[in-house]
Amino acid sequence: MVRIIQGYGQLLLRAMGQTLLLALCGLFFACILGMIFGILSVLKNKACNIIAQIFVDVIRGVPMIVLAYFIYFGLPYGLNTLGGFNVTLTALQAGTACLALNCGAYMAEIIRAGIQSVDIGQMEAARSLGLPYWRAMQRVILPQAIRTMIPSIINQFIITLKDTSILSVIGFPELVNTAKNVVANTFMSFQTWIIVGIMYLIVITTLSRLAKMLERRLNRGRR
């Protein structure tokens, strides 16, 4: 175990950095996608609702590993043979897209549920005072919705952080992929995977503690 830490500690730490980078990139775009599709699904417009529903259904209905293979290998190949476009994606780009789509679909559901959990009377009261729909959304509905969304969003962030490990299949040098190489070099799979497990545990536990603190601060003083 000590040999692994001495020999490969630096490498594994750098890989954890890559994992966090990938998760951050993915989450950033996932928030944008989630916001867009979440709001599309609560608008009083059938077409918008259907678009959002299709997005969520498709992404939820396909395992992320399939999505990853498709985006990294399938898409460039398809574009090349069918359309003659020469596109190659780096593993980071494909990984980000994959996480953003996957996490985005779940975020969309969290945001939709959060908005719908606010009593309809809140919107009616705001509208009855003459506030336009978007102002009412912004000033009255979203502030209340976000409060109920926060625990689910934090949970989704953690899931996404762990899901980066799936992207080892497209060769992104995140923690699991790097650890595989370490095992291949040292044959010490027992020790290596324990170390990797502990690294994930430390990072995720720290982040969820931070998130809890943030949540408590946001809820302070009000119900």
Binding site: G121, A125, S128
Partner: protein
């Protein structure tokens, strides 16, 4: 009862409203005059709340016209927000904004819609709170208030937009009995100040005391209307008599 030469504030003609296959309002025509206090009574499911909600277009109408202060609110091209600014509404379940304290509940619309700057809106809000006897709760959150207090704040919030018309949708139905009086008292004061009011309620005593006209609705129609003396003390239609027998 209002004179015929008084200004018509709300003109409703041949209003119909369906929810899918369910016809809730079948053919409603009515004029409401400036300064008039109109109480709508009737059994549940008779369409009275829906009728009220059509007046500020919280419900879109299926057919017919509603003209509020000369503006046809059923016309899709009309900016309904402009009309709503002048038509206050009070709900059965209060609907105070839970994420704001009382003062900010009152100031939100006036400041956001640029009816007043912050200082002015705050001064006005405090005045309205005094009017409903809630000035000492200006910094409380809705969750900290009783039902009666919430409803008085809701009335004050509507008044902050300086409306010409106030709509009340069963304002006392969700209140504990001992809190009904404080809300009715505020409404009585408003009526005395000359506000045009349309009130859906089950408080027959209040209707008798305060209203200029009582309307009895059943099955999506206006069955009978008249002064409280006429309608409550001497109803003519069998359905009105039947209803009043049950509630009085």
């Amino acid at each position: 009862m209002a004179d015929a030469n008084q200004n018509i504030k709300i003109h409703v003609s041949h209003l119909k409203k369906d929810f899918g296959k369910l016809e809730v309002l079948k053919d409603i025509s009515l004029d409401i005059y400036e300064g008039e206090v109109v109480v709508i009574i009737g059994p549940s499911g008779s369409g009275k709340s829906t009728f009220l909600r059509c007046m500020n277009q919280l419900e879109e109408v299926t057919e017919g016209e509603i003209i509020v202060d000369g503006i046809n609110v059923t016309d899709k091209k009309v900016d309904i927000n402009k009309v709503r600014e002048r038509v206050g509404m009070v709900f059965q379940h209060f609907n105070l904004f839970n994420n704001m304290n009382v003062l900010r509940n009152l100031m939100l619309a006036p400041v956001d819609l640029k009816k007043a700057d912050k200082a002015q809106a705050e001064k006005n809000a405090m005045e309205m709170l005094r009017k409903v006897g809630m000035e000492d709760k200006a910094y409380a959150y809705p969750a900290q208030l009783s039902g009666g207090q919430k409803q008085r704040v809701a009335i004050a919030r509507a008044l902050c937009m300086n409306p010409d018309i106030m709509l009340f949708d069963e304002p006392t139905s969700a209140l504990d009995p001992e809190m009904v009086g404080e809300v009715l008292q505020v409404m009585k004061q408003l009526a005395a100040d000359g506000m045009t009011m349309v009130i859906v309620t089950h408080e027959i005593g209040f209707a008798r005391e305060v209203s200029d006209r009582v309307i009895f609705m059943d099955g999506g129609y206006i069955v009978e209307q008249g002064t409280p003396q006429e309608l409550i003390n001497n109803p003519k239609e069998p359905r009105t008599i039947d209803f009043l027998n049950k509630v009085l």
